[in-house]
Structures are given as C-alpha cells and as structure tokens.
Symmetry: none
Subunit: 124 residues, 4 copies
DNA sequence: GTGGTCTAGACCACG
DNA sequence: GTGGTCTAGACCACG
C-alpha cells in the first residue's frame, strides 16, 4: 500500500499517515492481520522522521486499528471494535462538508453517489 | 443566529466561527444579503479576541461567502459562486469519515440518511 | 502541586507525570478548572525535555482529564467523564497487587485500609 | 494451570507469565512444592521464545517465589518469604488505580469488594 | 531487528 | 506566550 503525503496540507504528517492507513483498512487494501511497514522502513521511504511515523502508529494503536509488538512490528487488528455510531467530531465535519457542497451547487444525489463510492460494495 | 464554540475541540476558534457561518448560510438561517454582527459585537458576545473574529470574516470574504464594506460591515453575499465540485480537501475528508464510519459498523444507509438530513430539503 | 519523578523507575517519565496529575486531581490537590504549569515551565522545573511533558499532557487530554488551548495553556477539566467501571488493565493490575500482597503476608484488612486511605473521604 | 497472554497488552510477555504464576500461587492453583512446566514445554505450548519463559522463571526465582534445580526443573517454593509490607512500587500503583477508579465514579465499596474478591477466602 | 523513550533544538499557528 | 509539530540522533528493552 502506498502512502502519499501532501506537504502543502495543514493536516499534520502523522495524521495524514494515520488517515491513509484507516482508509486502507476500510477499503480492503490492508487486510486484517496484515503486516504494516516497520516504523523505520516507512520513515525512510517517505523521507520523514521515525518519530513522526511512530506517532501515527501509536494513535492507530490507541484507537484499536492496529497492534504492535517489538518482535513483529505493527499489524492490522483482526477484531476492530465497532463503535456503532459516528463520533461528534465526525458528525460535525460531515455537516460542514455537506453544507459547503450544497452551497457549491453539488446536488444531494451527487453527494450520495460519492458516499456510495467511498463506502464500497460490502456491508450495505 | 447563535454561534457556539466547543472549547474542547482542536479546531481553532476562528475556524469554528467560519464553519458555523457557512453552515448557517447553507441551512438558511443566514439569508442572502443578511447583515452579520460586527467584529466587535461578536467578539464581545463570545468573550473572545476581536482578531479571532476578524480572521474568520476575512476567510469567509476570501472564500466568497460574505462581503464587507466600511459602512455596512459584513453581509452574506447575494450570489455565492458555485464551484460545482467538492474541493480535493473536502473529498479527502469525506472519504476519511466514510471509511471510519464503515469500520465503526455504520451502514451505508445510515450514512446517507445523515447526508440527507444535513443537506436539507432544498436544492435536491 | 509538586511532581516528583523516580529516575530509577521503569515507568516512563511522561507516564509518571500523567499518573501524578491524575492522582492530584483525584486527591483534590488539583481542582476542576485549575491551571496546570505550562509545558515549558514544567519541563524546566523538572529538568526534562518539553516533548516529554507535552506527551504527558496529550495523554491526559485524550483521556479527558485536562483541556488545552494555546492561549491559556492546560487546565483540569470541569466535567471529567465517569466511565463507571475499572478498565480491564486496571482490574488485572489490582488483582496482581492483591495477589502479591496476600503472599507477602498482608492481611485483607490492611489492604482495605490502604484503599480507604487512598480513596479519601468523599464519595463513599 | 493455564497461562494466557494478552497480545494487545503493553506488558511484556515475560512479565505477563511472571504475573500469572504469582496470581496462580496466591489463588491456590499452584500449590507449594508443585512442579512448573519446563521452560521448553511452556514455550512450545505458548508458541513463544524459550528465552522469554526463561526470563520469567529467573525473575520468579530471584523474587523467591520459585526454586529451580537441574534435576527437577522449577517448583513453587514451600516457604515464600513474607515481606509483611507492600513494596513502594505496588503502593504507588495501588494509589494510581484507586485514584482512577475514584474519578471514574467507582464507589469505595465497589473497590473494596473487588479487593475482597481477588484476595479470596483464606488468610483474612 | 523491532517499537518505545528521550533529548536538544527549531519553527509554526493561535490568540 | 502558549501548545503542537517535526527533525536528527541516541539509547534501551523485548524477543
């Protein structure tokens, strides 16, 4: 899986890494139990500091998306806890995006079609 | 229109103000041509720095949501330019939220229902 | 409130800081809404790096014990979420300690007396 | 006696083994003089490195919980030295747990009931 | 070889 | 002035 950082983005690098891995898990690019690159390997590949990658992994770990151990490095967790509801922060963000989209003249149909695309085929 | 700041949020205050005004415009709480409170008034009412409100207004102006003139202060624009497409940043954010929702066990139906609610009745 | 680090301990410094602040809040030394020392001040006072203090604060923030903003620094939260149950990790630790105490010849009464002391007078 | 490792825990495996054996001794699952599995057998059974098991046994030996001899392998000690007091580290940990429990809204009664349960019937 | 911790030091956005 | 991010580099425990 390729992780691509947008250097111009306001989103911190560690957050971008975290986001892309979450999207990778959701999209099926990263399977349950799959090995992630080592902290050092990913840092080297991306030309960033190991601390930055480490922070991304620690967040993913604290959120329950991955597990780490010193022998095997980091792996996608087999059983990710299902909260069953959107966080308040995500609801707020979603509302903001929908609002901006509406003003920008994007139809509800188009928006839903995007959600549909990002959600994928499974688990409807 | 009441603007509510979440102290616990990591989103900067000026950004929260900007977001709520955009959501206000989209939701119809703020009509085209409607007067916004002055920078001073809003800052006083919210107990925050005038610079913070000013920054929010400047962003809204640069984004084309509001217009300012020396005499009348700030007003919602009558004709907001319709981009017709989601920005790259918003697409990315939407994808992130959908991904997290999917992993959290939220069905596509539920998500679409949220989008539907936030979009409102107009402009379908 | 004085934070004292045990340099010989295996517990990481940031964790020790986090623990002492939690104990300070529980014991009433740190009141709701009370200001914590700035990251820089505490780092200087303790002779450690700002990153280490910052990490402690970020953990406390993510756990909901404190809130931070760039203007006011860090403060104890007014409403700390009550989980209502001991975490699995804490249950396990408690069981380990009780087991070791029992083997060491400490009576149940003595143990309970310690719990009583640490819990304090309120909220029985 | 079954030893169960929590892969997700940050507690090192050797420490988890050590802890479970101590809890086994305290709870009476492991009797005085009872034979422990050989390092190799336990490592094989648990699918971990023999060094890891060996380290756990060495700690238990240095703490006086078990004894080893070349012929019989490891056995629970008949007379484990009773310190008569909680170690400083355990006191600190207990205080931390009690503090977190208190903030989490757990009553003193509930906590004491847990201690009671973990302590068991003997040796009150 | 792996992740985890820590430092010294720098720069930045927010307010 | 504040917390947040990031780097380069070092050392450590675990396994």
């Amino acid at each position: 899986m390729i992780i691509r950082i947008d250097e111009l983005s306001d989103v911190p690098i560690y957050q971008q890494i975290r986001n892309q891995i979450v999207m990778g898990i959701s999209g099926g690019e990263l399977k349950a139990g799959e090995q992630l690159p080592t902290v050092r390997a990913l840092a080297l590949e991306m030309g960033i500091n190991t601390m930055t990658v480490s922070k991304a992994y620690q967040i993913l770990k604290s959120e329950g998306y991955i597990m780490t151990d010193r022998k095997n490095g980091a792996r996608v967790r087999n059983e990710i806890r299902q909260e069953g509801a959107l966080s308040d922060a995500n609801r707020m963000e979603l509302k903001r995006i929908v609002s901006e989209a509406r003003i920008a003249g994007i139809s509800k149909k188009e928006l839903i079609s995007l959600v549909d695309e990002y959600y994928g085929k499974q688990g409807e």
